[in-house]
């Protein structure tokens, strides 16, 4: 069976030899680097779930394309049930890993391509869709993780791609050859690029005629020559490297900058090349799917944050304090709002010409608007409930120090019967959940920045129908 186990997935990554830099140094063993491994484990949780009692049924389904069971993270939605399963699996996994599991972005690319390549072919008689389906079969048969290369570095945001001083500020085709194309550029915030087997590149915005070279989509292995991953800094990055004070003892996240240094892409891996008017369509579809995804995983993360808050209340002896219980409610209803709008977007999805299902974009964007505003509120309430030690808790290394270890254990005790070590662990998890940047900034910028969600909602709402309803009531003939 093609569905990999956690172990098989991790082994498969060992075979890749990506070019990786972190903090000024080349990393040759990605899989065993403690900082990077924690992120890989988060993606591995999506493989583990496919074999775990209780999760397997919702994680594995039959692919109509290859006629075999596949992990749902390789399946563009072919039904309303598929759309709904996306959100439910994301919530389950978001709660389980307490951070980003970094496998949905690739699926969101696959889903967008499975709609748009078909539409391009319809208009231009190209064969992007068949190329794409071949690639998709390969992904499904090998149960691969894909990375979404969408966000260009953008240079001067007031200029279009072709107007930039340096033409490479958006990824572009620098050469077309008989056997393929050569691309150059850089994609920022590449969530889980080191957990992935393949990078799928899409345009980051709508393009005009003069930006033809930038209207390009393709997929390549993460260790293709010319591709360089640069792991940047996040707030708690050193903890994993130092092996202490990690908070989330199992999982983490990375989102490198990925540079495409004149990378060759053979034609069978090219899914768009110059059809400018479809560039915007690809990114709009991807973004809407990704906003739907967030409605699942982020509500799952809030579940986990609520659990941490409630446990801290138990540990602090504050479980019955009325204003803290109110804050728990404030956290829960925000989770349900993200989830509710996202799952509604799924149930209200529609079949597209290619056969793939697409969510209701207005509802998906409503979910994301709440995420962008309210996750920060949830984090704030979690910190409020947990207490000030979130920002200055002594290190676990202090606990091991013979002179001050006993003192710290004495003074960090909470409610009777709660082992002090557990209280410390939970405080550390709260710090990770509330204050780690790689995950929390994605609340704001993931799936496009807040303004993008707002514009989408305006564009996709039927304003005339609303006006007509008002005019009828006011007694205005129309």
């Amino acid at each position: 069976m093609a569905i990999k186990t956690r172990e098989e997935y991790i082994e498969s990554l060992r075979k890749l030899k990506p070019v990786v830099y972190m903090f000024g140094e080349r990393v040759t063993n990605v899989v065993d680097n403690p900082r990077l491994r924690a992120g890989i484990e988060a993606t591995a949780a999506t493989y583990e779930a496919a074999h775990r009692e209780g999760a397997r049924d919702s994680m594995v389904t039959m692919s109509p394309l290859i006629g075999e069971p596949v992990n749902r993270y390789t399946l563009p939605p072919a039904s309303i049930d598929d759309l709904v399963a996306r959100v439910k699996n994301n919530r389950m996994l978001g709660k389980r890993v307490g951070t980003c599991f970094q496998r949905c972005t690739g699926l969101d690319c696959l889903s967008a391509l499975s709609i748009v390549t078909y539409d391009v072919d319809q208009k231009y008689g190209t064969n992007y869709n068949s190329r794409f389906l071949e690639f998709l079969k390969y992904v499904q048969k090998n149960d691969l993780t894909c990375n979404a290369g969408v966000t260009d570095v953008k240079g001067d945001r007031s200029l279009n791609p072709s107007e930039q001083e340096d033409k490479d500020m958006y990824l572009r085709v620098v050469e077309k050859r008989a056997d393929g194309i050569v691309v150059r550029g850089a994609k920022a915030h590449q969530t889980g690029s080191l957990n992935a087997h393949e990078i799928i590149v899409l345009p980051t915005r709508a393009m005009r005629k003069e930006d033809k070279d930038y209207a390009v989509a393709f997929a390549m292995p993460t260790d293709t020559p010319g591709i360089v991953h640069v792991v940047g800094r996040s707030t708690l990055d050193m903890r994993e490297l130092q092996g202490c004070d990690i908070g989330n003892t199992l999982y983490s996240k990375n989102c490198p900058t990925v540079i495409f240094n004149d990378v060759f892409v053979p034609w069978d891996r090219v899914f768009l090349c110059g059809e400018t008017e479809f560039a915007g369509d690809l990114v709009v579809r991807f973004s809407a799917f990704h906003r739907q995804s967030h409605g699942g995983c982020k509500s799952g993360k809030i579940d986990c944050m609520c659990g941490a808050a409630l446990t801290m209340m138990d540990y602090n002896g504050t479980g019955k304090i009325s204003h803290l219980r109110q804050k728990i409610i404030d956290m829960i209803y925000r989770a349900e709002t993200l989830y509710g709008c996202s799952i509604a977007a799924s149930y209200e999805g529609k079949k597209q010409p290619s056969g793939t299902y697409y969510i209701d974009a207005v509802l998906a964007n409503a979910s994301k608007i709440h995420e962008g505003r309210e996750m920060a509120e949830v984090a704030r309430m979690l910190v409020d409930i947990a207490g000030g030690f979130v920002c200055d808790l002594p290190s676990d290394k202090d606990l091991d120090n013979p002179e001050i270890g006993p003192l710290i254990k004495k003074y960090l005790k909470g409610a009777t019967g709660v082992p002090v070590e557990e209280r410390i662990k939970m405080l550390r998890l709260v710090e990770k959940l509330a204050l780690e940047s790689a995950d929390s900034v994605s609340d704001i910028h993931g799936g496009g920045s807040p303004e993008a969600h707002r514009i989408s909602i305006m564009r996709d709402s039927d304003l005339e129908s609303k006006k007509n309803a008002a005019k009828r009531l006011a007694g205005i003939k129309k």
Copy 2:
């Protein structure tokens, strides 16, 4: 066919002879009273929709109980599709009438009773469910509108029903007879009691053993001897009576206080009588259904408010002002939030032992929490966009005055090409939508007060599972 037209509905109300007081005087002709008629028209819109091209298909369905097509407002949900149709019809009608159409509360009572009467019978071997089904057949066959008599006047809120100085502050059984019971009490905020054929009374809260007399549910015609409807004051009530400056030229709302002055109820109309532990269940089910309902109608009302705002921007010449367009987005996404959570609650519904479907209560309450907080925000933005004339627009009577009419028409002009009369009408509609109290206070108190929704969410969430997720990540053994 049993499905009444708008005209048949209105004629059927003429046959009722309820005892009604308004502003100190007895009202004998309810149907032709201009203030009351506008509310009746709003309910009539639910009848009209059952015959209107484009609405009929979603408004009419086959009743499994009577094997005939019925208006959905008489149908307890027997499937997920039924649950979803509730929200969609409510949104369509909320947008169409721009206020409350006052027919969902009765359906929400029917839905709650169709679940709970079955459960009571299972426990006690009573026959409430069969009585209820007979009543329901009668409602469906005659396409009746029911009113929900839930909210007791409550007296001193710090005391239980049986602890009150005056024992009638919650409606109660004052006499049990061979042929029925006699009840006494008063129900406040009876939305559309004068548009209804029947009043369905449910308890307003959970009851304890000692409150046995208060655990009572039944249904009676609105003109039963002993029932008195007192129409109270809302902010714009005089406009309809005076026939000018009405704003919403078609529809309105009323919510009388209904007094039960020793009303006799025959046993076949009694659906609960003394089984105290089911009192809370009835009100919880009713409330959850009603919060789901609001997610539909109130998002529809926001559609209408957006339409009014957008039209005012056209009329004022401010259609391209960026901050106003942002406010439109802020209005829209709130509508979609109410709607998304409510429709998600529907899709995630579950079949109950009686066969009736029940929504996901956490999601329904999440929708209502947003309503309680955000409808006021939406109204505020509407006023911001429309301008200050919302609070001091000259009367239509001034327009007709030969001396100042021409001056007012001159000075109230907006953008070129917009007839001044239309601008005035739309401003008046904005006033109605934003500042009429009978409808807008239901944003806050309808379906239970805000705190009730919050408590529901806490009660129905799985807190232990959330704690366990956090503990696992923190490395705490469980």
Copy 3:
């Protein structure tokens, strides 16, 4: 002594014969019209306070201009103490009247003119300031109330005054004569124009060269030939006319549209005429003063709303409910925010060339931004606390009805020992405080619409200094 009593003020209004229309009819006796009288009483409270023990000391001060004690509502601020007294008196009176007392707008005009007329004279050698000071002496000596005629009706908001199809959409000079000017136009939302002796007209916006005719400021008695006051509709306007269910038994508000139908203004009452670049300055100064004023009166209104909420809790038996007490805190801190920023704006004021003191505009606008967002929240919480009867309470006329009066009194009872009549009165006051439009819409649009406050803050903040602070910390040389 020049300082009028409440009675003298009311008598002085009797001598005026303004042309007034309300609801299509001419009103000849303004003072005794019950709807208009309640507004007059609110302004009268500023006169009464000048003679009331406990208020007199803060309300009366010595005028440096006329060397006599005056009511502070005729005094442009000549010191920091004067600025602070404005806010404190406004809070005291806002709390006392529970609505707008309608005398601050005139003072805010006087204050703006006392700065800007001086500046115009400095530049152009005109004598506006001496004309203005003569007018101010007259106001102070006779303890007059002035009305602020600022907001033009504006027509198409996308066009400048001189670009409008109808040139009269902004008030303008239509004729210049040897003895004065003739003006035409209309001013909307003229808070208290019928409580005032004089109308002071200022431009409503900055003007360009081509809008020269619109750069005009002057003062004229409210009953000058050609001036027409049209009293528009507010949500509860009929209650006062009908003499029942009034809520605030003492005070109310009116804000007519005032039409200037070719009104002659003698030169000694003209304070700006064609100096376009000062038009913006006048409205900016007026608005900033007026936003400071609101920080006082609206926090006083919240005091009153808190009082109503707390009393309702007493009457309902909910005084110890934790979530309601939290809402009281949410109401109080908003009052203190409005007040704090406004009083800070006063203490941080600066002397202007004319000798008049001007507030810190950024702080005054911060106060107003909170008002625009938070007063609606306060009203929402008040309704939440008070309960649903706010929107459908039976009329006092029902109480007097022999058949249902006793029933209503029985069922509207609250906590033991609270007379039912008092509970009813307080519910009615809550309705007035939360849902009356003439006053509550001024939370949003008074002193300019919300966007105006935001732009003011941006304009008056030192952005470069903030950038430099950040650059220094980032290690960027500048």
Copy 4:
């Protein structure tokens, strides 16, 4: 002259030999430890300002106690001007250091003690105030920095101090001797304890009779035998140790846990010992002063955050984007709200029996409520404006790498003409400002947790006067 320079201050710290642990190891040279030095430099900025042109005049004043000029951070307020200067200096310094300068907490203790020791003496005939004044003279003459030891570790929050299983969970007197007392306990979140010469310990809450041993206040040098400082972890702590990617290149913050391991305190340093009813008064006074302080420094920090946001807009080429400019306004008005309420609290201060001035506590708490809610919003907007690189920007070490350095410099370029290094530096500063925990958690928990501020506002507001205002308007006789 007693006023130390930055250099003298740093040298004076070298003479102290506190017992310090960090990450499991003893730190013997605090002053030269790069992580700790950055915090010391922030406090040093308060010394530097006393000698810097432009700041000196507001930073230095004459002490009435010692008759010499002193740094204001050693001066309990003896006038309204002193109260106001506190806030203005804090804002200036908060903007200058972009984090906490860690010297106000000690002053807030001095201010509280200067009021309460006098009151205790009045009641009990003790001589705490003269002891305190001797200590204060010493502080002023030597221009010392004091640390506020207020927050006990608290153990089980549902139990009072004397009810705890381990009696040391609140700091207490374990022995009274002829020459002094011996204390034991631990104080958490000791902002700047390693930048301070003296620790001033106050009780953390009101005490009951049975908690007599916990009602203790005193001051001792930070290197007193038995005192152990444990520096905990904050999100970006390793950056300073590693010497790269620091963001704020000049300043930082530390807040150790300070353990009192049977510390001897001579009587002349004891300022409260067993007078339980004054314990609450001390912490209430301290907290109110500290909330006022935050209104200054945090608005200054927002100034700096606005500067960073505006600079990022310049660097990204997004300076004219309307929705980003709106977010700048949203940031600015929040700064002004904190500042306005805090400065209003100062101007409205009152003289206390000891001669020290005390702020208006309601206004100070209003400021802090906004801080607790709105600083997180400001940070969220800053991240929104700056872009996603805030969470994954490559390290400066990558820039120095010969292979990828040039690539990164190429792809991180922003608007034309902006050196890429400056864009990187500013992004790093944004990360520090928005996501560093030691400072940002103090927005929530500094000066007591959010609920504490709310309770204070309720307690200090005149609720009866508000009720009476409402009753008068409703026509209820009282």
